[in-house]
């Protein structure tokens, strides 16, 4: 038995801590590069920015976050509760349909709604015809290219994050605690607010923080709507003023927002360590809705789907039919293949690394592993534009370093190994989306009581075997969710891909972006639909998967 024993002094040295250190170091590299450049003294741009546009960036960004946060919370949690606990017509359809807007990138929906709602668009044209107005000042119509427009666009496509995570949380809740609450004299509404919602809070907070990070990241929409957020400022300083240091300094400030968000998430989660207190888990109650409540539920679930997905998809479909000749060519197929390859690769890697780290944290309850894992998952919060600079700079430095070393030692010139390759793009994606898989996996691991680990270990299974035979089967639903989220996000990813892609390499997203910003939405409509389509397929698979992985509901025996 002696060889099994481990020297206590070296106990920190093991595959989990070393692995986490390596991952954290790799993921931290681009962020560190940005911070390093940001702190390097440069010209007067910083004070100039602070005196002019900075207050505007800050207030606009905050307003955008508050608006999108509130909107996605109400829509996401409300619809999740309705479809997971109530019975009304179309519930089974809404269960998955509510996920559809997730397949819509915010920039695509922004292009489409601008097309519909601008002065020359069909809606205002129709109104003018109906009421005989001729001039813009004769009537009031909401300006789509505005802050509230941007809030609406982002809310419509981002609420599924909250919906997805809170629905999973509601489904994992035992009916027993809800029944206990009702037995204690609380009606369905109060049970929702006093039991179901607090129990689902970790999941909701994670969903909201993901939404807000996504909001900070958005470039396509705010650029198109000319809403002066931080991210837009960074692009402006970087690309238009050609000042990397200024952009990095802005990015450093933006990191404070991000750190704040991350702290909120951590704090909320810290106070909520739930394990199932009962092993009796049955299907959720299924309140039979009547009258106005029934109609309200149907309308409430239908609106997000219609405006977030059906209508824009319909418009895009119309364009695709009109512009079919222009929109189909071999290039588009190649770009589609590129997108799928990159996204699939990233999803698999992100899931594997996420499980590794989350399990490492669970296993080695040590501050170093925890802190590093937290750090490695900061990338998601960092806007893609900033990461792109960081990846470019750090991979460039790495390439130069390797090249210099190889030349000195072996007399070989390696040139640029990573910069401008698919590996660089994948690396950028991983840095950004690792938090997504890590967060989901960690949240669902937290729901498995540590006694499961103890039982498996005392029955002779090592950490890896326990992970494979206990944890992975138990978190299958959430892990699949995580992989799907990463995949869809990669398909839609724009700001990093534009900058990191190899020369002449296009994904569907960069192709759509290029044409749509030239107001050639028609030509790009098919590619945009393809992005949306790729997003939908996994979303459907996902929806069935969460129903199947209901704990306590092993086979098809759905009781309600």
């Amino acid at each position: 038995m002696a060889p099994m024993a481990r020297k206590e002094a070296w106990s920190w040295l093991n595959v989990w801590s070393i692995g986490t250190v390596l991952i954290a170091a790799a993921v931290a590299m681009p962020i560190m590069a940005v911070i390093f450049i940001g702190l390097t003294p440069s010209d007067e741009i910083w004070s100039h920015l602070a005196a002019t546009v900075l207050p505007l960036y800050i207030s606009t960004t905050l307003l955008l976050m508050v608006g999108v946060g509130a909107g996605t919370f109400v829509i996401g949690v409300g619809t999740a509760w309705l479809v997971s606990t109530c019975w009304f017509p179309g519930r089974r359809v809404f269960e998955w349909a509510l996920l559809l807007p997730m397949a819509m990138p915010a920039y695509v929906i922004a292009y489409v709604y601008t097309d519909i709602l601008e002065y020359a668009g069909p809606v205002q044209g129709l109104l003018r015809d109906m009421f005989g107005w001729t001039l813009k000042r004769e009537y009031w119509f909401p300006e789509i290219r505005s802050l509230s427009g941007a809030i609406s666009m982002m809310t419509l496509v981002l609420y599924p994050y909250v919906y997805l995570l809170s629905r999973a949380a509601f489904l994992e809740q035992s009916v027993c605690v809800l029944e206990a609450s009702r037995m204690l004299g609380r009606g369905p509404w109060r049970s929702f607010f006093s039991v179901a919602l607090p129990l689902a809070r970790p999941a909701i907070v994670i969903g909201l923080s993901l939404v807000l990070m996504e909001t900070l990241n958005d470039f396509g929409t705010v650029d198109f709507f000319a809403v002066s957020t931080f991210t837009l400022g960074i692009y402006d300083v970087w690309l238009n003023m050609n000042n990397v240091a200024g952009a990095a300094q802005l990015a450093g400030l933006l990191l404070f927002f991000v750190i704040f968000l991350v702290l909120i998430e951590r704090f909320a989660r810290h106070n909520q360590r739930f394990h199932h207190t009962t092993s009796k888990i049955r299907a959720l109650p299924g309140y039979e809705l009547q009258g106005w409540a029934r109609r309200g539920a149907v309308i409430g679930c239908a609106l997000p789907v219609v405006f977030g997905f059906a209508l824009p998809a319909f418009v895009l479909g119309g364009y695709a039919v009109i512009h079919f000749e222009a929109a189909t060519n071999p290039d588009v197929y190649r770009y589609a293949a590129n997108s799928v390859l990159l996204s699939g690769l990233t999803a698999v890697l992100a899931l594997a690394i996420g499980i590794f780290m989350a399990y490492g944290v669970r296993l080695r309850n040590e501050w170093m592993v925890k802190v590093l894992a937290r750090f490695a998952s900061l990338g998601y919060a960092v806007p893609g534009s900033v990461l792109a600079v960081g990846v470019l700079v750090s991979l460039g430095a790495l390439d130069n370093g390797i090249d210099a070393f190889m030349r000195q030692t072996f007399g070989i010139t390696t040139g640029l190994l990573f910069s401008g390759t698919i590996a660089a793009v994948t690396f950028g994606y991983l840095v950004r989306f690792l938090a997504l898989s890590f967060g989901s996996v960690e949240a669902s691991l937290a729901k498995i009581t540590p006694n499961m680990d103890g039982a498996a270990r005392s029955l002779g299974h090592g950490p890896f075997s326990t992970l494979r035979r206990i944890h992975i089967p138990l978190i299958r639903g959430s892990a699949l969710t995580a992989a799907i989220l990463v995949f869809v996000d990669c398909m839609k990813e724009l700001p990093m891909t534009v900058i990191l892609r190899p020369f002449n390499f296009h994904t569907l997203a960069t192709y759509v972006h290029q044409f749509a910003s030239d107001e050639q939405l028609g030509e790009a409509s098919l590619a945009a639909l393809a992005i949306v389509g790729f997003g939908i397929l996994p979303v459907i698979v996902l929806s069935f998967a969460i129903i199947r992985t209901r704990p306590g509901d092993t086979e098809k025996g759905h009781t309600s």
Binding site: E8, N451, G454, A455, A456, S458, L459, G460, G552
Partner: protein, 372 residues
């Protein structure tokens, strides 16, 4: 020696000293109960023995092999320990037979299944082999958890509050079944509980834990009940009648009678604890002190009678109420004159310091117990 031996175990969580120099020894074939209030560190001791918690100081030896000390930490999967959790921790995604064979991965599938069915048979659970855990009742889950823990033939079995999740009706039967399976397997067993009755039923030996994992007393159930060496131990088994007095001529006098207290110094202030069954009520009796009956409660086999010492009783005890456990045939309300006497077997004397609280110097010390 076969079994488990923990020496000088010390464990802190943050500022909370859970175990301070705790030691215990569990020989093979014995069922030892750790009985103590929550916070006495008994569960921590189990987790340390299992290797789920890293040992901070001390030594843990299983079958003569050091599994944890300053330099060693054998991970739980290599300790050969069976562990049964309070919540059973059955794997929800595996059916019963897969749960039980989970620890038998180094055997052929046939052999593992055979062994698992054998265990399930012993516990009367064969017909549930294909069920999933959530389909079973609490008692059935408990049986499966026990079968699962015993299937790999562990060197030591640890049970953490194994019956606390079960309702009282079930408990008796399951306790009995559990005990017979444990005895049949001959495994060294440590069971943690806060229920004294359960410990009395199950244990070959009981170890009573006080704060910080200090063992207040260890011994056979009989010894713990009839010869408690600590006031805390005496009070574990329910309500006590408490008197104070002073040792004179090697005895203490209380209204019920005289109690020998040779070992305690002359003139020492002491506390006398008398179990309810140690008070003998007699109708028209001569010995003891006269009492009035306040109330009686039929508990089944026993009657719990509350009596009050008459007002003419000497000194500070007049009007004191006592709890008395008598056979149910005793019907005090019919009689006129009742006296209360003493069965010294159920009366225990403990020294008090001058302030009237329990003296710190012990009848027991963790050191003396460690050597036991």
């Amino acid at each position: 020696m076969k079994g488990l031996h923990a020496v000088g175990v010390y464990h802190v969580y943050g500022d909370n000293k859970v175990l301070d120099n705790a030691s215990l020894m569990i020989p093979a074939g014995e069922v030892v109960c750790l009985l103590g209030p929550s916070g006495s560190g008994k569960t921590t001791l189990l987790r340390l023995a299992a290797g789920l918690e890293r040992l901070q100081r001390g030594r843990i030896v299983i079958d003569d092999e050091i599994v944890a000390d300053k330099n060693t930490h054998v991970p739980p999967e290599h300790r050969g320990i069976g562990l049964m959790f309070q919540d059973y921790a059955l794997f929800p995604h595996l059916n019963i037979i897969d749960n039980v064979t989970f620890g038998l991965f180094d055997q052929s599938k046939d052999k593992a299944n055979h062994r698992a069915m054998d265990m399930l048979e012993q516990l009367g659970m064969t017909k549930h082999a294909e069920s999933h855990p959530h389909m079973l009742s609490g008692g059935q889950q408990q049986r499966v958890a026990l079968a699962r823990a015993l299937a790999p033939k562990p060197k030591v079995l640890l049970l953490d509050e194994p019956f606390s999740g079960l309702d009282t009706n079930l408990r008796g039967q399951i306790r009995e079944d559990t005990l017979s399976v444990l005895k049949a397997s001959g495994v060294a067993t440590i069971m943690v509980t806060h229920d004294p009755e359960e410990a009395m039923f199950m244990a070959d030996r009981i170890k009573i834990l006080g704060d910080n994992g200090k063992i207040l007393q260890a011994g056979r159930p009989h010894e713990i009940y009839y010869h408690p060496r600590h006031e805390f131990v005496a009070k574990l088994f329910g309500m006590m009648n408490r008197f104070e007095g002073v040792v004179e001529d090697g005895s203490v006098e209380i209204p019920l009678g005289l109690i020998r207290a040779d070992s305690l110094g002359e003139g020492r202030k002491v506390e006398v604890l008398v179990r309810p069954e140690g008070v003998i009520l007699e109708i028209d009796g001569k010995a003891g002190t006269p009492v009035d009956v306040v109330s009686t409660h039929l508990l089944g086999h026993d009657n719990l009678v509350r009596v009050r010492l008459k007002n003419d009783t000497a000194g500070e005890f007049q009007g004191k109420e006592l709890y008395v456990r008598v056979h149910h045939t005793f019907e005090p309300e019919l009689s006129k004159q009742i006296t209360a006497g003493l069965d010294p077997e159920y009366a225990f004397v403990f020294p008090l310091d001058e302030h009237g609280s329990i003296a710190g110097d012990g009848f027991t010390g963790s050191q003396s117990q460690a050597a036991e």
